[in-house]
Symmetry: C2
Subunit: 166 residues, 2 copies
DNA sequence: ACCTGAACACCGTTCAAGT
DNA sequence: ACCTGAACACCGTTCAAGT
């Protein structure tokens, strides 16, 4: 009963900071994320954050990594095309949840589709390129009406390459 | 001889402001673009800019439009695929020249590829979607190694749709 | 009526001073 | 040695005061 419900009493950590930062971004957008506001949210002096992150840019990098980690949950059954489509849609959802300049950075860090493309029959280098292309498209089209259409055309194009190898 | 070489003596206008803003963005990136620095560059009080643009966001919108206008220069000969590729590469160049969050906004405003896709045989609605997809990809992949690869796969996918209609 | 620039409410980060 | 918070050099924008 003596335990404080107040989460702000817990010790600061990179994890807690990133969690709070994502909450701010989800609530009010990336522009609303400032070191000062983040510190206030955590009931901490602004300078305390600098013990855990070199500067704001480093925090943003870690944030992009966290978003990328949300994406790469695997999905192991169905055709390669179906698996890829699911993954890409999950990426879009993650990008829409965390809007702003985070999407391109997160897309660069995510590599969840590469093994699927390799299993489909593409050589390692091309699997990489194809996945980068899919993520770049997703980052650019996350909020667009043409998202579904573009994914299908991109997958069609990739399928032609897979078929050529089979 | 009495003419002043100093451009800052000329009267302020939306055009002059946008020109200076693009110069700042090209030189030091979008983050370096502040109303105060822009005003200083133009040898003008910060508040004078607000006679021409409601606020910074309006200026950024106009900037995206200016970048989009750079892209839509037409190129009228060769196959539709060749024309489209040329246009998309020009868009990438424009996005690389003006980095930052400008690319997605500019991509949304550019519609130079739609007539080419219609001439290729796609119905108006689909031509729109296909061009949006190409621009979204370009905005997301402008700096990526997978740009050329992704464009070709996307064009392959679109070509399948064109072939189906022919 | 128009223009000016001081002022407000913010930023990210440094660094001297205090413990 | 560590932590603190005042201070620096900025922001975008409002608005009272002056012309």
């Amino acid at each position: 009963m003596a335990r404080r419900a107040d989460a702000s009493a817990e010790r600061l950590s990179r994890e807690r900071i990133l969690e709070a930062a994502l909450a701010v971004v989800e609530a009010d957008g990336l522009d609303a994320l400032s070191m000062r506001r983040l510190a206030q949210q955590l009931d901490v002096w602004p300078m305390s954050l600098y013990r855990y992150f070199q500067d704001k840019e480093a925090l943003l990098d870690a944030l992009a990594e966290a978003v990328a980690d949300e994406i790469t949950l695997p999905s192991a059954n169905g055709s390669w095309r179906r698996q890829l489509r699911e993954l890409v849609e999950r990426a879009r959802d993650a990008f829409e949840r965390h809007p702003g300049a985070l999407a391109p950075a997160a897309a660069r860090l995510s590599d969840g589709g590469v093994p699927i493309l390799e299993a489909a029959g593409l050589p390692a280098g091309e699997a990489d390129e194809a996945w980068q292309a899919l993520m770049a498209f997703t980052a650019g089209a996350a909020g667009s009406d043409a998202f579904e259409y573009g994914v299908e055309r991109l997958l069609d194009g990739i399928e032609l390459r897979v078929a050529r190898r089979a």
